[in-house]
Amino acid sequence: MAKKIKRRDFLGLMGLGGVAAATLSCDYQPTDYEEGFDEVWKPWVEPVDGEIPYVPRFYATSLPELGSLGLHIKSINGRANKTEGNPDHPVNMGTLSARQQTVIQNLYSPDRVRKPLLDGKAITRAKTQEVLKEKLSGAKGRNVSVLAGDLSGATQDFWTQFVAAMGTGKLVRYTAFTDSYWATASEKVFGRAEVPYINLAGTDFVLSLGARFLDSWGDHTAHARNWANMKKIEDFNRGKHVQIETRTSSTGAMADTRLHCKPGSESVILLALLKEVAAKSTKLSAEDQAAIAGLVSGADMGAAAGASGLTAADLQKVAEELLAAGSAVVLPAENTVLGDQSLQHHAAVLLLNKALGGIGKHFNYAASKPATRTVHHGDISDLVQDLNGGNVDVLIVLGNPNPAFNTPGSLKFAEAMKKATFSVAFAASNDETTTLANLVVPNHHGLEAWGEVNTYEGLNQLQQPTMRPRWDMAQAEDHIIGLMKELAPDTYAQESFREYVQASFTARFGAEAADAGKFWRDCLRKGGIFAMAEAGEDLPVAANMDAGFFGAVAAMNVAGPALIVMESPRFGDGSAATSGWMQELPEAMTGVTWDSFLEISHQTAKDNNLKYGQEVEFTVNGATVAMPVITSQTMPDGVVYMETGQGRTVASETFVRGANAFSLFGGGVNAAGVFAFAPTKVSLKATGNQTKVATYHIPGLGDQLYTPMSDSPYFHEEDGKQDHRFVRDLFQTVSLKTLSEGGPKYVPHYAPYDKKLPFVKHQDKDFYDDRGNDPIYWGREEKFYEPYKWEMVVDLDTCNGCGSCVTACYAENNLPVVGKDQVAKGREMAWMRIDRFLNVKKDKQGHQKVEVNFMPMMCQQCGNAPCESVCPSLATYHNKEGLNAMVYNRCVGTRYCANNCSYKVRRFNWFSFEWDEDARWYTNPTVSVRHKGVMEKCTFCSQRIRDARNKAKDEGRLVQDGDFQTACQQVCPSKCISFGNYMDQQSEVYKLAHDQRAYRALDSHIKTKPGVSYLRRTVFDQGHA
């Protein structure tokens, strides 16, 4: 594998990219594979007269592996540079989760396949073509199977045509996490094998039985947005979120009520709720009501309470709240913890939503995904059988579905794959599966390729190249078209895959367009056709379920420590484990970076004689894994939590870490047609090794913080034994009742630049005058904050700690990934971090209650900044626009500013952190890469401010809301970050900073006059438990 891009290659590609963009013709030259790659594609979003160097352009695209998600790829000088969300896309609306942003790191991954390999040896392209031709023609008419990721639309059609033309093989699609259980459940419940589009818009009550819908489950960016809208306060009231789960997740942390149930008891709870709600529901027809009553006759609230460890009163209250809500939504538990109950569980969720009137509105079948477009795990099971039977002549692995890593260990895919007569991998990156293939052909990364991603009805997303491929290579589909010309000339009418996609897409959607070419370009520019139905119809319950359908559902009753496995929001199925950003992003609850971990409660640790960081091993389904235990205060007793994604073995050395959770899965497909893990008893055995776990904070210390709240029972009552060492009102909450009574009184509402608001009475003089009236220099007319003072507002009510902003900041501001050793030493370079504060209390019954609060912490751009006055070289100073500016070139590196920073947001370059040859491609050219000895920190994306300011100046106006966003604000799925000009009284940020809930962190203590306001997290006066 070539290690580096040669300088000459780089210049050549740059030149080609430039020429390509400048000429902007849409002509497509077929690849002359023999002589070299000189395909010239010119994707574009908006027409420009000429390419201007360093002026970014945005390409709308989408990726099969990301599903229903629109991307805008920022491209600079013909190179893809940053992942952003497509604001026009109806699902993510411009936002992205942390993991979704890593596609750019994948594109420039050092693991990319650069040369064709035959049995591990590099071969020429001519030879590749020869081998492919020979093998495929030899197998023609027999079993040529294709194993791909989540293909859809024209791409799916293309490969279906291919396997049909070749013989008896099948197109098998595989992703470790799929939503096809909805299709099987919907077929049972409504007789429609479709995956409904789950839409939380307009809800006022969300009950989740464990689905982490804010950070990893389903279309979580959309869910987070709608959930945040639900939490908007109107008339001192807002929607409510109840989470019943087995492990405190970051989604559960944000719930108004979080109830811990025993692993495996979710379905029982669900049935009990269904029985109660259906019986009292006014939204069901009599027939449906009777049908449901018949199905759930065996359920019982008391028994469910007993099995789950909750109280019947709690469950009863949830049921009442569901019934009382205007438009409640119930979300299921995650498939991985359901085992064999997946089908019944999801069917019950559909029925419960039906009883709540949510079918059509929240479970939209008018914008559903047909079962044919989702991945069924049965397919790969069948493929493995075929392989084991020696029936597969040629197996083509397309893209990087990586089943050798992320199929259940018991399925033994890797062994099966070796039994294919010949296997080919068209792969962008090396992974566990490609190394098993006889022939590895470099393929375009999704951002270099054409395609179509067609998930929900009405959501037809196009995938277009956002830059020229990194190396001379062709897209797999173009290889196939070339081959099929000789093997089966009638298969494809087009000369290239791009033409194929265009023809297919235009034929399906643009038949009525007056100008087909314009239609195609418009769609490319927009990212596809986004015309999802807003709402569907309510569907009647079909008679597909017999009376005993729910009969088999019982609590799993795991005796002893029960292992639950869930999808990692950071690594997913393991494809993002090779991303430095993901490895360095702390897990939301435990703060662990770079390692696999097993999260257990302190009590469980005590029972098993384990300590934090101690490595344990255990065996499940014949697979033994070892990893450190993390003791956590948020974890319920008796539950052991493990995440998927780590444990990659074929990747850059840095990313080969931890243990693979998929290896623990049993190989069978459940009734819902998916692989699922069931909570299992594990015996944890210490190996004797101790792992130094790298976290952003000191575990067990420093993450506790009592949150004083005015007039709230949380603050005044409860136990009298608060540890006052930790009482510091950095994070504040307020009850809705207090808001209705005129706002919090505990900490004085203090707005620094508004002279109309008096200070608290005992402070008759503010010694720390703001600079609003000062000239920026003596003797100059210019004054501070005219006309801009940039401020930010963060809503703590809707921040769910997902870390998307943190990753966006890494991408935008060229923050180095420092590695585990350095994180363990406390030298992570994140300009923005998510402070997680625990509030451990005992309620009146003596039960321990842990509140979890997330607080994004970035430079507060203090008006009276402690860091500025102590810098001896004036490398940091207060600029005219209220920013605490940082001049890297002037920094001598005394670190005094960081010492004096009360928020600890300054980051020092302890080394010149390495940017390897590949990583340099995605550094932002408008932000300098810092070297050793220099202090750095957040400056509210000053490069974006500058661009927006210049643009506004050219247009002879001031910057207004909406002109630009900071990187963190842009991606935040719940839109909890607002940013703008405080001096503009019409701006959102000005209004929010004067909200009743607004406070400035630590300002009442140390008068730093931060430019960031936080909106207090709200709580209901009467909560659960």
Binding site: G826, C871, G893, T894, R895
Partner: protein, 451 residues
């Protein structure tokens, strides 16, 4: 007083010979020790070079704790540098006769300590190659330093202190250098001639010399108080809980004198033995110095207690927390080292019998040196480790690089001191002669005055 005040048991004629004997050709032991010192210095230089090449990350510093051993060393050495000027200037003005025997070496120690301290701001900055930006100089870019920054005040304070101390030291040397000049040959003679500024011991010159010396003593006196006050403001001016305290200036000055006197004793006791100078450096001198230690040690202890009182009295959660954590938290060991060595161990000195036992005294001063180093470590590190945001707390553990640089700094200091011993009289010939019997015939008691 039981200890004899100042028994002059040396004759005028012996002084020059005895004291200048230190300048004789070094013995093998000297070379051996010098080799060890230069070796240690090499370790320090190598560590620093490694740090410059790799980045500050080779030190144990991290995000909450941006200052550690280097700043501890810096404050420690500035503190050590306090005793010299105190002895030579303040005690001169107070006409404390016991200073005559010790002030020269104490003053030399001051200069070398400041010379050592001045290295640390360079060692601890991230980009030492641009450290000159901390000096205000006119430039076409109109870039200026930040006069509000205590670090800049440090630059001025240290430079002023170093230059004034060095000049004062050279002036004190003039009559002695003149005496050596008359005996030296070759290159040495030229250097001594230059340094003696043509001093020929005429009455006229003596009159001006004594007046000049007095003025310099008066000029140096406020610096004794200012330097460490300014250094303390590095901390006091910040808003870090545990640093932000108006007590710091007097507290640091007292601590500096405390540690400085301890260091003087630590050095003089072996020095006296090696060069057989028991006649000149008597128990009485050490008793006097020990008393000064007792005084400053008491002030230091009082300051510690005041800090705790104020933390409690302030009712500030952050302040209370920091002081609670100092005693009971992760940095308990440094705290106990500090409190034990600076407050408990020196109590021994209150027993006269023990403080006049030089072995005991020497061991106590070693403890004080250690304790004062830990005092600075404690203030700097434990405050930074746990500030306002509990999520951002972090622990700091020094690395071998910091240990190497610290070792190097001690060697650097002793290297200068060893060179000094061989190049200049370690006691002021003239001032010793002032208190000895002049070589006149007749009345043997003439001129003998009790100090």
């Amino acid at each position: 007083m039981d200890v004899k005040q100042h028994e002059i048991n040396f004759s005028y004629a012996e002084i020059t010979k005895d004291i200048l004997s230190t300048l004789e050709k070094p013995r093998p032991t000297y070379w051996l020790m010098m080799a060890m010192i230069v070796g240690g210095l090499g370790v320090g230089v190598a560590s620093w070079m490694y740090q410059i090449k790799e980045g500050m990350g080779v030190a144990g510093l991290n995000h909450p704790v941006g200052w550690g051993v280097y700043i501890t060393d810096f404050v420690f050495w500035v503190g050590i540098g306090h005793a010299g000027t105190l002895i030579s200037a303040i005690l001169f003005l107070f006409r404390a006769k016991w200073r005559n025997a010790i002030f020269r070496s104490a003053e030399a120690m001051t200069i070398f300590a400041v010379l050592t301290a001045a290295l640390f701001p360079l060692i601890h900055v991230g980009r030492v190659w641009v450290a000159w930006w901390l000096i205000p100089y006119p430039n076409q870019r109109e870039l200026w330093v930040n006069f509000r920054s205590p670090l800049l005040w440090d630059v001025f304070a240290i430079n002023t202190y170093f230059s004034v101390s060095a000049i004062f030291f050279c002036i004190g040397l003039i009559p002695d250098v003149a005496a050596i000049r008359d005996k030296a040959k070759g290159m040495r003679k030229k250097i001594y001639t230059f340094m003696s500024l043509g001093f020929d011991s005429s009455n006229h010159q003596w009159r001006h010399y004594m007046a000049g010396y007095g003025f310099f003593a008066a000029l140096a006196t406020p610096l004794v108080l200012s330097v460490h006050s300014v250094v303390s403001w590095d901390f006091a001016v910040s808003i870090v809980p545990g640093w932000h305290s108006t007590l710091f200036a007097p507290y640091f000055v007292a601590g500096a004198v405390f540690s400085g006197m301890a260091m003087v004793i630590t050095i003089l006791i072996p020095f006296r033995r090696i060069f057989n100078l028991e006649k000149y450096l008597t128990i009485w001198h050490f008793d006097m110095m020990a008393r000064l230690i007792m005084l400053t040690g008491t002030i230091v202890t009082y300051s510690y207690l005041t800090e705790y009182f104020i933390a409690w009295y302030s009712d500030d959660v952050f302040e209370i927390f920091i002081f609670h954590e100092r005693v009971f938290g992760a940095y308990q060991v440094p705290f106990l080292m500090m409190f034990g060595c600076n407050c408990v161990v020196p109590l021994i000195l209150w027993v006269r019998k023990l403080r006049t036992n030089l072995t005991v005294l020497w061991i106590v001063t070693i403890f004080i040196n250690i304790g004062m180093w830990f005092e600075r470590f404690n203030i700097i590190v434990s405050s930074l480790a746990q500030e306002y945001d509990p999520f951002a707390w972090g622990w700091y553990v020094p690395t071998w690089v910091e240990a190497g640089v610290t070792l190097g700094s001690f060697c650097w200091f002793f290297m200068w001191f060893f060179l000094f011993i061989k190049f200049f009289p370690s006691m002021a010939l003239t001032e010793m002669k002032e208190i000895a019997d002049p070589p006149v015939s007749g009345d043997a008691t003439h001129g003998k005055e009790a100090a």
